[in-house]
């Protein structure tokens, strides 16, 4: 083992070695299914099931990706996921930012009650309200539109987003509005030109978190657009292959890689924000 001068002392000994092996083993256990998926997205059925289930593909079949893209509606699913993801992020941020501004910076009776009211959303399981949400969406004649997903998704993410904003808005000094008021800015100008840029980091965190959750959402998508072919998102598209008589496993692997890659890239680029966002919800909820 390398001596690192003044750096912290490394662990040595048998138990340390066993522990290190354990850490590596679980890391492999955590990553291998993913790696396996990527590998089999380049194989054909024979290789996947008979000749070579574990190793690198003997022939790299890039045509699986071409097939997935051309034959299996993957571009449509992708487009839907992007539209729903972006729409959800924008709507959630607009609603959450304005609301949190009103309950933290503006002065009115009942602002604490309003904040508590929205935060109860944290404790309502989506599973439980599945059916009434479907009924509501149908009642508002939103079925067959992107709004059927965007509006419920934004509602679900609202409580969490307001909570992340709350800390940020509380931290802005009061003098900000006072100075703006003296300079003759209207309350609207104060919000859009002064406050909004100040909470940028929170907006970023929320945007990433909300995008990922919308991108991966299955529960509501399944009951809201599960039978509407032209609105299916990628998580539903992945299931399309299930129940086909002769499944083209390679193309299915390719579809799964296409569905997962954006989320993995977002996580790798913004791991701090993703973990930060998730742990904020933990800190306050508990």
């Amino acid at each position: 083992m390398k001596k690192k001068g003044s750096g912290p002392r490394q662990y040595t000994g048998v138990s340390a070695t066993i522990f290190t092996i354990f850490l590596w083993a679980y890391a492999i256990f955590s990553l291998y299914p993913l790696l396996w998926m990527i590998l089999y997205s380049f194989k054909d059925n024979t290789e996947i099931f008979q000749t070579n289930p574990f190793g690198l593909p003997q022939v790299w079949r890039f045509e699986n990706y071409v097939n997935a893209w051309n034959q299996y509606d993957v571009p449509l699913y992708f487009k839907n996921s992007v539209i729903v993801g972006a729409g959800t992020v924008i709507l959630t941020i607009i609603c959450a930012m304005m609301f949190t501004f009103a309950v933290t910076r503006l002065q009115w009776k009942g602002r604490d009650a309003a904040r508590t009211f929205i935060s109860t959303g944290q404790f309502i399981p989506v599973q439980a309200i599945l059916l009434p949400v479907v009924q509501t969406v149908a009642g508002l004649h939103l079925m067959d539109t992107y709004w059927s997903l965007i509006l419920p998704y934004a509602a679900i993410n609202l409580a969490f987003s307001c909570m992340v904003y709350y800390g940020f808005f509380k931290g802005i000094p009061k003098e900000m509005e006072e100075a703006a008021c003296i300079d003759g800015a209207s309350i609207w100008q104060t919000f859009f030109l002064i406050i909004m840029p100040l909470v940028g980091p929170a907006t970023m965190t929320i945007a990433i978190y909300v995008f990922l959750s919308a991108w991966n959402e299955f529960l509501l998508a399944n009951v809201l657009v599960g039978t509407t072919a032209h609105l299916k998102t990628l998580p539903l598209g992945v299931l399309f292959f299930q129940g086909q008589f002769t499944t083209d496993w390679g193309s299915m692997g390719a579809t799964m890689v296409i569905a997962s890659l954006p989320a993995i890239v977002v996580y790798c680029l913004f791991s701090e924000q993703v973990e930060g966002a998730m742990t904020t919800s933990g800190a306050v909820k508990g």
């Binding site: 955590s30 059916l131 679900i156 509005e177 791991s271 973990e275």
Partner: protein, 304 residues
């Protein structure tokens, strides 16, 4: 200034979008769950008030209700034990500066969280497939005669789907605990080292008690996660074999979307909400600051 900040028009305009969105898609639906649980309703025609009949039938006569609760319990136990134990060990490991490749471990453990549940279920479905799945293939190649019908066995199927959920979400609790450990000051450990405590002892007496709130939250997620379990079951077993992997959500799903019995389905949802609430309250009571030898260190520490 006061007048500037109590601009009534601004307050209404800023609050309204969020309030409307929340009421229409969360608050009114949750009220509807409880309201319609007292009705016989097919979703289209006039609902008929039936009082507690749905509850009586679900709680007392429906044999699947017992299965569903038992499955929720099994599911909850599996994910709680798996996630909490591993997440704690890994979080302590990656927070220790003497362990190498910490950044890599962090990413590796967290990555399943950012995948879609459908991708994870398809992947594990392929691994666990009885006929040509990766796991059974591996067994037979290694000459081990231990092939299992992972997803089609009445007794083990629920544990298999619970494992898949546990595998995917371990990283979430891991991240929570890492964040919790970060908030504990280094000086605690330095003091412990001076006192001659081994690092195992230091973690047992410092880290775990100080992470009380984090553990409360982790338990809350995983225990209610068992009751709410649905996606993995819908994708991987469809409630089967038979009704061996039914959960409360699956009862709702089956009655509402499969049989048009909305009132009865929503009764199951209502029970689900109540069970979750009871668990939240019970955990908060259990973790409340009080004279508890395990947590007594807490008091003096909070100021730091």
């Amino acid at each position: 200034m006061k007048k500037y900040l109590s601009n009534r028009k601004a307050i209404i305009v800023f609050c309204l979008p969020a309030i409307i969105l929340f009421c229409v898609f969360i608050f009114v639906p949750i009220l509807q769950v409880f309201y319609y649980s007292f009705f016989d309703w097919d979703g289209v025609n006039q609902a008929t008030f039936v009082g507690l009949a749905n509850y009586k039938r679900l709680l007392l006569k429906d044999p699947v209700f017992k299965t569903a609760n038992l499955n929720g319990f099994k599911f909850g136990v599996v994910i709680t034990v798996y996630q909490l134990v591993l997440a704690t060990i890994f979080a302590i490991a990656v927070s220790d500066k003497r362990i190498r490749f910490r950044k890599f471990f962090r990413t590796a453990y967290f990555i399943p969280v950012v995948l879609s549940v459908t991708v994870v279920c398809q992947l594990w479905g392929n691994v666990l497939n009885a006929d040509n799945g990766l796991l059974n293939t591996l067994m037979s190649r290694l000459g081990i005669n231990w092939s299992q019908n992972w997803l089609n066995d009445r007794n083990t199927a629920i544990y298999t789907v619970a494992f898949v959920n546990a595998w995917q979400w371990m990283g979430y609790q891991f991240a929570l605990i890492v964040a919790g450990i970060k908030s504990i000051g280094e000086d605690f450990y330095e003091a412990a080292e001076i006192d001659g405590a081994t690092s195992l002892k230091a973690h047992w007496y410092i880290t775990l008690p100080l992470l009380k709130d984090t553990f409360n939250f982790c338990l809350l997620i995983s225990v209610t996660g068992g009751i709410k379990a649905f996606s993995e079951i819908d994708i991987m077993t469809g409630g089967g074999p038979g009704n061996a992997t039914y959960t409360l959500t699956y009862i709702m799903y089956n009655y509402a979307f499969g049989r048009q019995k909305f009132g009865y389905g929503l009764t199951s949802s209502a029970v689900l909400v109540i069970e979750c609430l009871v668990i939240i309250l019970a955990l908060n009571w259990l973790f409340k600051d009080r004279e508890n030898p395990l947590f007594s260190r807490r008091k003096g520490v909070e100021i730091v």
